[in-house]
Symmetry: C2
Subunit: 439 residues, 2 copies
Amino acid sequence: MELPTSDAPVSDIPLSVRARHTHDQPISYFMQQAVENPGLISLAAGLVDAESLPADEVRQAFDEILSRPRTAQAALQYGTTQGFHELREKVLAHAAALDSRAPADLSLTPGNVVITTGSQQLLYLLGEVLFDPGDIVITEAPSYFVYHGILASLGVRTMQVPMDDAGMNTNALEELLIHLEKTGELERVKLIYTVDYFQNPSGLTLSLPRRRHMMELARRFSKKHHLFILEDAAYRELRYDGADLPSIKSLDEGNRHVLLAMTFSKPLSPGLKIGYGLLPTELMAPLLRFKGSHDFGSCNLAQHLVHRLLDNGAYDRHVARLCDVYRAKRDALLETLAEEFPADTPGLRWTRPEGGLYVWLTMPVETGPDSAFLKAALREGVLYVPGQFCYVRGAGHYPKNEARLCYGVAPIEQLKEAVRRLGRAAVEVGAVPACGLAR
Amino acid sequence: MELPTSDAPVSDIPLSVRARHTHDQPISYFMQQAVENPGLISLAAGLVDAESLPADEVRQAFDEILSRPRTAQAALQYGTTQGFHELREKVLAHAAALDSRAPADLSLTPGNVVITTGSQQLLYLLGEVLFDPGDIVITEAPSYFVYHGILASLGVRTMQVPMDDAGMNTNALEELLIHLEKTGELERVKLIYTVDYFQNPSGLTLSLPRRRHMMELARRFSKKHHLFILEDAAYRELRYDGADLPSIKSLDEGNRHVLLAMTFSKPLSPGLKIGYGLLPTELMAPLLRFKGSHDFGSCNLAQHLVHRLLDNGAYDRHVARLCDVYRAKRDALLETLAEEFPADTPGLRWTRPEGGLYVWLTMPVETGPDSAFLKAALREGVLYVPGQFCYVRGAGHYPKNEARLCYGVAPIEQLKEAVRRLGRAAVEVGAVPACGLAR
């Protein structure tokens, strides 16, 4: 965010109550500081690998679209609020096929699909549709910090449930729901939010038994009103090992409880800013009214592009290639971590994700913005996201010794160097012994 | 909007208060009916001319962008919330050049520019930044009905001031402001909204003396807080005759009061969904916080495309060609109106816009959705927007005998045929004598 300086007084600017209560996320300042440090290798930014972006595929698809008057005019004219019909058909078939299902089996038609400006816009629109100030959303601890910002701007209370290697602890979720029912607050609980494949930030995936348990809880605790699950499956298609798991959406008989958010930003290109949602019928009309007020439809040209890439097979080929690229990057990160950080150090561990872009590192020392470890890391020339940004403030105790490492952006040699720099920083602050495995 | 049918009960869906109070605009239903009538020539849809969409220019620009790794990666990677920096520089220079000014003369830097998903998103974001329920916006009567929908969804009261051939009557605006000050409501007035070039729906343009008067009123009535002017100049660059007028923004010394909304949808391509705003410094940070929550940046690829087209001159050449296309279409519409509608019919008149896409027709009979004239027009196979949709409901008396005719979409021969059909409909309902000039 680049702002001009001004000597104007701000007291007489009539901002709305919401604008006056919406603040920069603390991470913004932190990230900005980092940008100003050249030579730094960032494991913090959640961007994607640049080399593998599908430039040739996109160029060829545009060439095809724009060289025929009919398709060119359709792409360059206004679209519809809900999104390009043929794209909605395609993404619905695509999402269902990931679960080896037909759309009708899931009680879904193209009328249940909306195309959005990235999945972020879907998260915001759903917030407008569902939440009043004081409502409650339950999510994982840690969880996707950008979503916390949306919820805060809408005045929503975020409650977090612990995770382990099988994702959100659904027993703890059940206990929380029981507790909220006892205290009379169940009515304020509108939504369970989960990033259930290779979670941002932890890299962890929700196990199948827990998917079933979460689904059962959403049904059981739908008392005075529906309890929804927002399944943010942004990383699902970036799986490098292991068998795919069914979406929670595929367990949602009758399309009643699960709002599935998907995006082309991670598996294709973030520059297109195209995401989509598969939603219960009752939410479509209110959501489209808000979407109409926002923009009456996301970039139509980008929608036609994505449709073409799905249609001609370029998308599937690209995802397969991309998984090879990220598998190698993940492996480089994990292997270098094993070389640089002694496995038997008390309090030290990290996740080994089967997909996605993130490894979650737990350190025996604090990792926050003012910590000695972060300062040492910056001196060595490496940046990570302090884990504490992934917990909701003011909601009790949260760990201050974790870090999100993203292997999306940096090339393999830089990833290795970044981890070596992290290792040196860890030695400097006494977090690991100087006689690490690789030394 | 396409919705699946469902037999599910809707009573247990926990919608937000805002969602429950946001309704389809009455025009939505009306437009939907029209879509189902094949053979109809629509003068209602506010789309643009299809034949002249810049397919070759866009294809060539993408070819250039995507064939070089550096520019391809920049366009396909994440952008920033505020928008592509080089595009912000370009649009600022472009907007200032329209007023023969340099950005610095207008106290503007690229930090005062935001790129949005069409200008519609800018209107929505500004609504979130500025308005609390019960606040007041003053606009023209008639005015852009889509904006009324945004305001209603935010709980804003819209007040309308009459127009004449010189645009909004600023003496009436002054009287209204004086009245609101007396009743203690001036504090609730946040904004004057004007589409000041070839207005949608009337085709009328705000005169230079009234631009100065409106600017003076905004300054004078900024008492406890700033009174802003939202200048929606979407059609400015589509001028077919006459001399350009300076923007109100160019009269806003020190960049204090005027929020300028511009778009590439009309002069280039609506499919790109790229608009931009030039805003006072104090509004940038709050606006960008909302924009970050919405989508953290509009489609980056489309932004890089627009930048390229501005940079290589294709945009300017396209606008010049487009003005020739629309001038011919406007002339065809006006000439056929003069042939079909006797000029001396009492109560009959229409505007003669120097640019934009709309002619405003005043009839001696009612034109509303249930009127005999509209039914006759549909029988003859032509559709217009009933003028009453362009007035705020519940704000007192409004005319029911007007029509918006858009010459954007239909080719010239269809425009002529559409007006002949309108003429026959007018004869059928006795609005004009059967012995019209052309008969």
